[in-house]
Amino acid sequence: MSTTEVAPPPGSVLDVSQDNASLRRFLHGLPGVDQVGAEARAAMLATRSIKSSAKAWAIDTAIRMVDLTTLEGSDTPGKVRSLCAKGRRPDAADPSTPSVAAICVYGDRVDVAVEALHGSSVQVAAVATAFPSGRVALQTKLLDVVDAVEAGAGEIDMVIDRAAFLAGDYLSVYEEIVATKLVCGDAHLKVILETGELVTLDSVRRASWLALLAGGDFIKTSTGKISPAATPPVALVMLQAVRDFAALTGDVRGVKLAGGIRTTKEAVRYLVMVNEVAGDRWLSPATFRFGASSLLNDLLQQRHKLSTGAYDGADYVSVD
């Protein structure tokens, strides 16, 4: 038996997280992103013309990918129950309309949502970790997560510490995600990068990899509280990150776009981007989501248009 065989190199990409310097070397060793080129690619994909049967498929797929969201201080139990009803059955007049993927609420409304969605396929997602700023102590963030998970949330949307990221303290960001993942238990973890605060696409790429390395099940663009939120170039870079991560590790993670996506046209363009950049295996609610509120009604109106041939009006879909 040969003894000259060298131990396999630390093949796990997780090894880059042994200290901040290692993480930094890894993240800064990723290929740069040329902003103009990325924007041009996104713009080209936006010219795809999706018609008839493809459009019908895309609309239903998009509905199934919606995390129907309400994140206001004024979210009463009644408001949340109403949203859950809409998510379960977006169009009472047409039972063929699929349900949304999840209802996304603050942690203290998880119990209401869990009850309202009982018996349906719709998941309950909770924003946590002192959403949206995340500017509290780690222990407080983790308690926030534990509360939501204990209340029955199946999905947790956490925020990263953008301040630490911008200050170059990648290890701190990484360790917070790892700690959060740990307390999530079986709940899926979506890691919000808040790309509007990271600004450059290079940072978006690095933050995406950081979140994937730390075990995030999804990387998510935004809280919806900062502008710009999801944009086509940001989505492009994040889709490339999950594509490349899967190629490297075999592990398929998801992308959630949140904030500012209001129309069917935008949603379909993003599905085209998923299809052509990441690949069709990502065209599933398991790996792609839209965090949105008003988008659902536009999808429903377009669905009506396809089935009736006539343009719809706002009074033909329900106000949420």
Partner: protein
Amino acid sequence: MPDMKVFEYAPAPESRDIARLKPTYGVFVDGQFRPGRGEPVKSINPATEEALAEIQEADASDVNDAVSAARRAYDSGWSKLAGTQRAKYLYRIARVIQERSRELAVLETLDNGKPIRESRDVDVPTAAAHFFDYAGWADKLAYAGFGPNPHPVGVAAQVIPWNFPLLMAAWKIAPALAAGNTVVLKPAETTPLTAMTLAEIIAECELPPGVVNILPGGPSVGQSLVDHPGVDKIAFTGSTAVGKQIQKSVAASGKRLSLELGGKAANIVFDDAPLDQAVEGIVNGIFFNQGHVCCAGSRLLVQESIADVFISALKDRLQTLRLGDPMDKNTDIGAINSAAQLGRIRVLADAGEAEGGQRWSPDCPLPERGFWFPPTIFTDVGPASRIAREEIFGPVLSVLTFRTPQEAVDKANNTPYGLSAGIWTDKGSRILWMANKLRAGVVWANTFNRFDPTSPFGGYTESGFGREGGRHGLEAYLDV
């Protein structure tokens, strides 16, 4: 989980009716549309091989009429017309091209075979932009830096290729008219239709008769035009072989000449490049317009340290290219322009294989009718092989590797051509160093195949001489 059917895009074809095809097209001479006296030919849709229209081509007597008309128009007023007035004619043309842009785009795609997305988003808007930009020069020539009192040259003979039919017409006609010349333009034999619609637009804009004359026809019409003693200036875009013939036929004749010829551009990817954008740049560089682009990045020079990973990413990307009906708004790769061009591409691609290159194309079924060639990559290409040296003018990429920046420069410059080059790296100082060393008229760094009316375009060495675009593009049409 739910069903995972593939996202099949339904056909999204443009309507052929928008092109307003006519059954026949003739010549445009002295402000009149009439049949040419040459042999009529059919203009073919290369995507379907169906005849689109009959072209009543010009012959030598039509050339004579057109040059005479251009001379009369030149002498009788156009060359003396106030620049402000010439400018307004050109602005009118720009505006009508914008107004009729969809019609022109559909017509171009029918006649040329290029995807509607490209004719709609590149060819037609850039053509309008050229007229708009040069319009503004017409009354500012004294400020163009070619002396205080520049004069027009006279009658300009312009011979253009089939790869960007309308856009090349705009590149040629706009600066010529702005500088006060009159024009006889010969579009390519396989793609005359948009030039004839441009003639309609010019008539509609009420340019004086004879200022622009357009003669569809084949090489013999081009030769008659180039040789005509009444011509003062010749502008040619096309192959290097024909360019050399033209240069010989006007040698020391006193006729001015500008040539925009072939290329074999290197697109150079360093290991620190923004790789996703570099992949896009390589794809855009060689597969834009089916590779029928003189400045196409037909040689990929990739740093050896990332060659495997880069080529793999490139192949993944090529799998997503959509080849097919050029009229479909989702088509990326259209038809090869003609049976003859398809034959040339096949010969060179076969030679590439015979010389040991590894040929690869994505799985992409070709339509049964029409002229088609799949996007193709050759690896293991020897530097001396034909596909590394000769212009293919088709969707065929030859991949070579390098180790150091100097080696990249040496290999990039190792060609008789010198039209364009691409550089992909995140290091600014290396970009400028490379840009300085590359012997090419246009250097795209971290981008490729960008065109703008203000940006001079043209080659070194056997890629031709003279520049088109911008202030520099006026020089060919001014006597200074």
